[in-house]
Symmetry: C2
Subunit: 335 residues, 2 copies
C-alpha cells in the first residue's frame, strides 16, 4: 500500500489513478483522507470553480458536457463533480448522454467524478467541498460542480463555487417548476437551455422580469452566521455591479456554449477586479468553518453522552417534563 505522500506526488505528476484513489479516501473520510487534505490544502485556490445547478429536465448534464468540450478547445483542463443521483455520470443516463460522456473519456485533460449520497445533505456538502479541493490541488484549470437544484443543500453546494450558473428551460411545468428553492438569487449567470423549444421568449422575459424586480437576495456574513439579505437601496453597492446575463443555448447542438464560457471567464475577471473574489472566499470559508465546527461539536457531545441519553431527554421534552432550552443547558453543562 502506497503512502499518502507517494499518492499525492503521483497525483500532482498527472496520475489519474492516484487522483481517483485519493478522492475515495477523502470521500470516505478515512484518516488517510484527512491527512491528504491537510497536505493538499496549501496547493488549492488556483482552479476556477463553477457551480451548475438546475431542475431535472433542463438538460443540465448535456450542458456540462458541451461546456467541458468548449473549455478543452480553449486548452483548459477540466474536472467535473456530479452531485446528482440521476446524473449520466453515475449511470442513470439515457444513451445519448452516455455517448457524449464517452466522447470525453479518453481525454487526459478531463476528469469526471460522481458523488454518492451521504447519510445527510450537510455531509454531502462537506464531502463535495473536500473533493473539489483535491481536484483543485491536482492542477485542473476548471472544476465544474454539477448539482440538481432541487433541495436547499444542493443549492448551497452550487453557490459555494466562485461562479454559479443556473440552468432553466422553457415549458417546464407551465413555466413555474424550474424556478424554486431560491435558485435565481444565487445565479451569476442564467442559461436558458433547449432554446429551440416553444415558449423560450416567455421564459427569458419572465426571468429578466424577476431579476429586475429587485427580489434578489444576497449572502452576507454576520457574526459568523451566513444570512440572506434582501437586495435594495441599503445594500452595499459593490455587490451590485454584475448584471446577471441570460444566455440561450441548445446544448445538444453546441449552440451558445462558447458564450457561456466567455461569460464565466468575464465573471471571474469581474470578481478579481472588484476584489470580490477574496470577499466571497472569506465568506465561503467562514461558513464552512462554522458549519464544520457545529457538526464536530455535536458529534463530540453525542460521543460523550451517547444516543440513549439524548433519546431519554427528547422523551422528557415530549412528555413536557423539561423544556428544550433547559434540556440543552443540562447537556452542555454536563459535557
Amino acid at each position: 500500500m502506497k503512502s499518502i505522500e507517494t499518492l499525492i506526488e503521483e497525483m500532482r505528476s498527472g496520475s489519474r489513478r492516484a487522483l481517483a484513489r485519493l478522492i475515495s479516501q477523502v470521500e470516505n473520510e478515512t484518516p488517510d483522507g484527512q491527512h491528504a487534505l491537510k497536505l493538499l490544502y496549501p496547493h488549492t485556490g488556483n482552479a476556477a470553480t463553477v457551480g451548475i445547478t438546475g431542475a431535472p429536465g433542463t438538460g443540465k448534464s448535456s450542458l456540462v458536457n458541451t461546456m467541458t468540450k468548449e473549455l478543452r478547445r480553449r486548452d483548459k483542463t477540466v474536472a467535473v463533480v456530479a452531485v446528482d443521483p440521476t446524473s449520466p455520470f453515475s449511470g442513470g443516463a439515457v444513451l445519448g448522454d452516455r455517448f457524449r460522456m464517452n466522447d470525453l473519456a479518453g481525454d487526459k485533460g478531463v476528469f469526471i467524478r460522481s458523488m454518492a449520497t451521504r447519510g445527510n445533505l450537510g455531509g454531502l456538502a462537506r464531502a463535495t467541498f473536500d473533493v473539489v479541493r483535491v481536484l483543485d490541488a491536482a492542477g485542473f484549470d476548471y472544476v465544474l460542480i454539477e448539482t440538481v437544484g432541487a433541495g436547499q443543500s444542493e443549492v448551497d453546494i452550487a453557490k459555494a463555487a466562485q461562479t454559479t450558473v443556473v440552468v432553466e428551460a422553457p415549458g417546464l411545468g407551465d413555466d413555474i417548476q424550474a424556478i424554486k428553492a431560491g435558485i435565481l438569487e444565487i445565479a451569476d449567470i442564467i442559461v436558458v437551455n433547449k432554446a429551440d423549444r416553444p415558449g423560450v421568449k416567455n421564459t427569458v422575459r419572465a426571468l429578466r422580469a424577476m431579476l429586475d424586480l429587485g427580489h434578489r437576495q444576497k449572502m452576507v456574513a454576520h457574526h459568523g452566521q451566513l444570512m440572506l439579505m434582501q437586495d435594495g437601496p441599503d445594500t452595499e453597492p459593490e455587490y451590485d455591479f454584475w448584471r446577471v446575463p441570460i444566455i440561450q443555448t441548445i446544448a445538444v447542438e453546441d449552440d451558445g456554449i462558447a458564450k457561456v464560457i466567455d461569460k464565466i471567464e468575464e465573471h471571474g475577471e469581474h470578481l478579481r477586479e472588484t476584489g470580490m473574489d477574496s470577499d466571497r472566499e472569506r465568506l465561503r470559508l467562514e461558513t464552512e468553518l462554522v458549519d464544520r465546527l457545529q457538526d464536530a461539536l455535536l458529534r463530540d457531545l453525542l460521543d460523550k453522552t451517547g444516543p440513549d441519553e439524548l433519546e431519554a431527554l427528547l422523551q422528557q421534552i415530549i412528555n413536557r417534563e423539561v423544556d428544550p432550552a433547559s434540556a440543552v443547558r443540562q447537556l452542555v453543562s454536563a459535557s
Copy 2:
C-alpha cells in the same frame, strides 16, 4: 416589579398585559424569560398551531385577518404571530389592512404580536417557537404563525406548525414568482387567494399538476438530522394519506375562508386519527433540540476561545496555512 410567577398567574387568568410582558421577556431572552418558558412548558401542547406562508402580494395578511374572524365566529380564541417586517401588524400596513386589524383590536379573544427581526434567522426561528409556546400556555385555541415565504428559514418557521397553509395568487410575475423556496413541498393546504383575478384557473391547474407530479419532498428524521426525502414508492405510506386541497379565496370579500378553516380542522383530525400528530411533534422537537444544541455548543466554544482566536484561525485558513478540518479539530480539542 412583579415576579415571573405572578405574571404567569395573571396571564393564565386572562391578563393581556401580563401576556405581553412575558412575551417581551421571552423574546429578549432575559433570564426571567428563560425561567418563564421553563414554568410554562408543562402547560403547552394544547393549541392548534397553523403556519401561514406565501410570497408578498398574495394577500396573506388579509387572509390571516379574515381567518381570525371566522375562527372567532366559531368561538375559538386566536393568537397571531406575524413574522414579517412588512406585515400590517408591525405598522407597515396600507390603510385597509390597518382597518381590518382595528376591527379585531377590541376583541379579548384575539391577540396579535409581530416578531422583530433577530441578528440571524436561526435566532428568529427559536424566538418564534418560544413565543408560540407562551401563547399556547396562555390558553389560545389557535396560534396562527404568519411568515413571508421568501427565505428558507421563514419557511422552516411555517412548517414547524401542526398545519401549514401556503398562500398563492394568480398572475404574480408570470405565474412563476409565487412558487419558490421549496414552498409547495411543505403545504398541507394551498390557498389561491385573489381568486377573482384573471388567470386563476391556470394557477390552480399548474399547482395541481405540480402536486401530482410527485415532486413532493417530506421531512424525515434520520440520526438526529432533519432530512428532505423525495416522495415516491419507497416512502412510508402513512405520510401519503392527506391529499393537499387547493382552495380558492377572495380574502377581502370573506369568500372561501370558512372552507379554509374547515380544512384546517379536518387536517388536525387527520393528524390525530393517524397518530401523525405525535410523529410530527417528535420530529419538530428533535430538530429543535439539535438546532439549539448546536447553537449553544458554538456559543459556548466562542465564549471560551473568543472571536479573536476564531478570526486568526480563519485568516490562517484563507492563507492556506491550515485546512478547515484541521482547524476544527484544533478548536474542538482545545475547548
